[in-house]
């Protein structure tokens, strides 16, 4: 994972998705729930050139239909942005367990 902070209210991170079916319903639910627990705006994309999408929306996250092996890019803006990115990257790294 690479996580870097540009300033206190903005953070970015990326992580490879190892889950066998890709970003399917249960991981996607965990991801959106975790994103929603932070006050910051959290965005996600699976392609560095694609537009950002709302990581707190299950419709948007599932709509990406991310396959296994894809890289997930996160971006957060606002309060606790850095903590949000760290938590989300950690969730994907531990394969959504726990």
């Amino acid at each position: 994972m690479i996580a870097r902070t540009e300033n206190a209210r903005r953070a970015e991170g990326q992580v490879m998705l190892a889950h066998p079916v890709g970003l399917h319903a249960r991981p996607a639910i965990k991801l959106t729930k975790l994103a929603k627990s932070f006050p910051a705006t959290v965005r996600l994309r699976a392609d560095p050139d694609a537009p950002w999408t709302d990581a707190k929306s299950i419709v948007k996250v599932m709509g990406l239909k991310v396959p296994q092996g894809a890289v997930l890019y996160f971006e957060a803006e606002g309060a606790e942005a850095k903590a949000a990115i760290a938590a989300l990257v950690a969730l994907v790294e531990r394969d959504f367990e726990g």
Partner: protein, 544 residues
């Protein structure tokens, strides 16, 4: 049609028996509201209606999730998360502000999502379209208000509904509900088959309205004579009690045949096996009461579970069937999707005539990726017991040969991987008339006549159309001639022939089948005692 007695308040509704039984209970009327079209309401009211329906749907889904298994709860959690998502709700509210009703707004937004999932590359994401469709319907039911939630059918009641889908039927706990009567429906539908296999009395095609005023009224469901008697008077009640006692005595008498091998009155042995759709039905069933599993359907594995089942999941399920049968043969049918059994992400949508379409082995051969996983799982399960593979809807010998080649490949792979496996016998269903007519061209290990589809195809009558019941006749000479032909072919070549349709479970049809020389049948667990008793009566005894 219905007749009413002004004095006692008794009303008799006539219908067709889809699954036999005789019970009393309290009517639970859950028919659609047929009130005239909704008058348009201000957008504010529509917004409130949608919000209320979404909140209620969330409560329902949370309740379901609480008692669902892991697979089902994932789907339910996904649906709950969708209901909380502004990305779904906001566009629906915008439609309402533009003048749409709550139902129209919700439908438009969900339909767009459904199409998006249907066109996904991955089978897993394509299958999610079914979850969205299910969610759409649940909210629409709440919005139109005419359809109570099915899991809310009260205990000891007789459900009255317009008709049910197979999933709607399975949502109900039938150990608590006594039976059902549908205003529409047909005795040959998939739901009727589910009712028979679970011993749930079901009357269909009542063809009249049963209004909410009947809700909560006492009733007799006579799924023998084809009558639903609401508010029964003294004479109907007395008649019911006498017949109920008589049926109880007969059921006890028939149960006496369960533990014995089936034999006709003139001593001819007949193998009686069971049909299984959901392995859960085997709980409480005694393998000693049958000669094995003649038809294990595998569609349930591919329905409502999300992704297509992987090899390990399938090996475990097939192993469970073999363990239950304890050394008796278990014939497992490869996926028979299509027709009235769509599988999200696999079957085509919008076929003009699904029963004559891309279904059964036709679909499997077009999807060798999915088919080979199933064949590998079956070959692995065969290491644990006598598993046999049966192909549905075979029409020409080359289909059998292609399936055989894929099975051989699967077995070869397992051998090189060093996994325990065995080569199962590969048989075919005979349900396409052309295959029955040209049966001598096929080189299958065994044959099993699928009478439900055979009757439908030979008589050119849809299984699920109640108006065609008179023509949809299993005893049509054309049907019997084909069955006789297949039985004779099997006998001359020494190939085992069985029949695994509902025809064998009906004492009215069984003698006609035994007349053809057939000596192997497969019926639902609920029909086992009745079938064995009917066999014992054949050949000399009364009722022949």
């Amino acid at each position: 049609m219905s007749t009413a007695d002004g004095e006692t308040g008794e009303i008799v509704f006539e219908g067709k028996v889809a699954s036999p039984g005789l019970v009393t209970g309290v009517l639970a009327v859950q028919t659609q509201d047929r009130s005239p079209d909704r008058v348009s309401r201000p957008a504010g009211d529509e917004r409130a209606a949608l919000a209320a329906a979404l909140a209620e749907a969330t409560v329902q889904l949370q309740e379901l999730a609480g008692r669902a298994d892991a697979m089902a709860s994932e789907i339910l959690e996904f649906q709950i998360a969708l209901l909380e998502d502004d990305a779904l709700i906001e566009p629906a509210l915008e439609k309402i502000d533009e003048g749409a009703s709550a139902a129209e707004g919700w439908t438009a937004v969900l339909d767009a999502q459904i199409v998006d999932y249907e066109t996904a590359d991955s089978a897993y994401f394509r299958a999610r379209s079914a979850d969205l469709r299910d969610l759409k319907e649940r909210v629409l039911r709440l919005l139109t208000g005419g359809d109570e939630r099915r899991s809310g059918v009260p205990a000891d009641s007789i459900l009255v509904a317009d008709d049910l889908t197979p999933s709607g039927f399975l949502e109900i706990d039938w150990t608590r509900v006594r039976g059902a009567a549908f205003l529409a429906g047909s005795p040959s539908s998939h739901v009727a088959m589910l009712a028979r296999s679970r011993g749930v009395p079901l009357l269909v095609n009542l063809g009249v309205e049963i209004g909410p005023e009947c809700d909560g009224e006492p009733a007799i469901l006579d799924a023998v004579e084809g009558r639903l008697v609401a508010r029964p008077g003294p004479s109907a009640t007395a008649e019911y009690q006498a017949r109920f006692a008589e049926r109880a005595a007969r059921t006890a008498e028939e149960a006496g045949y369960l533990g014995r091998p089936a034999r006709t009155a003139d001593g001819r042995p007949v193998s009686v096996m069971i049909n299984v759709d959901d392995p859960a039905l085997l709980e409480g069933a005694d393998p000693g009461h049958c000669d094995g599993i003649g038809l294990a359907r595998t569609e349930f594995l591919f329905l409502g579970e999300g992704a297509l089942p992987d090899e390990e999941t399938q090996v475990a399920v097939y192993g469970r069937l073999l363990d239950w049968a304890a050394g008796r043969p278990v014939t497992i049918r490869t996926l028979d999707a299509g027709g009235d059994k769509p599988v999200p992400g696999l079957t085509l949508i919008g076929e003009t005539n699904p029963f004559l379409g891309f279904r059964g082995v036709r679909l499997s051969l077009a999807r060798p990726d999915v088919f080979k996983v199933q064949l590998r799982a079956l070959a692995r399960a065969a290491a644990r017991g006598p598993a046999r593979i049966m192909l549905p809807m075979v029409t020409v010998p080359s289909e059998y040969a292609e399936a055989r080649a894929i099975l051989n490949q699967a077995v070869e792979e397992l051998r090189s991987e060093g996994r325990p496996h065995a080569l199962p016998a590969l048989g075919m269903m005979v349900e396409v008339p052309a295959a029955a007519l040209a049966i001598d061209r096929f080189d299958a290990d065994f044959l099993s006549i699928g009478s439900n589809d055979l009757v439908q195809y030979v008589t050119a009558t849809s299984r699920d159309d109640g108006r065609l019941v008179r023509l949809h006749d299993p005893l049509h000479p054309g049907v019997l001639e084909l069955i006789e032909r297949v039985v004779a072919h099997g006998r001359s070549r020494g190939i085992e022939v069985s029949l695994c349709g509902d025809m064998a479970a009906d004492p009215a049809y069984l003698p006609g089948l035994l007349d053809t020389g057939l000596d192997r049948v497969s019926v639902s667990v609920a029909a086992l005692a009745r079938t064995k008793a009917a066999i014992a009566r054949y050949g000399g005894g009364p009722g022949r």
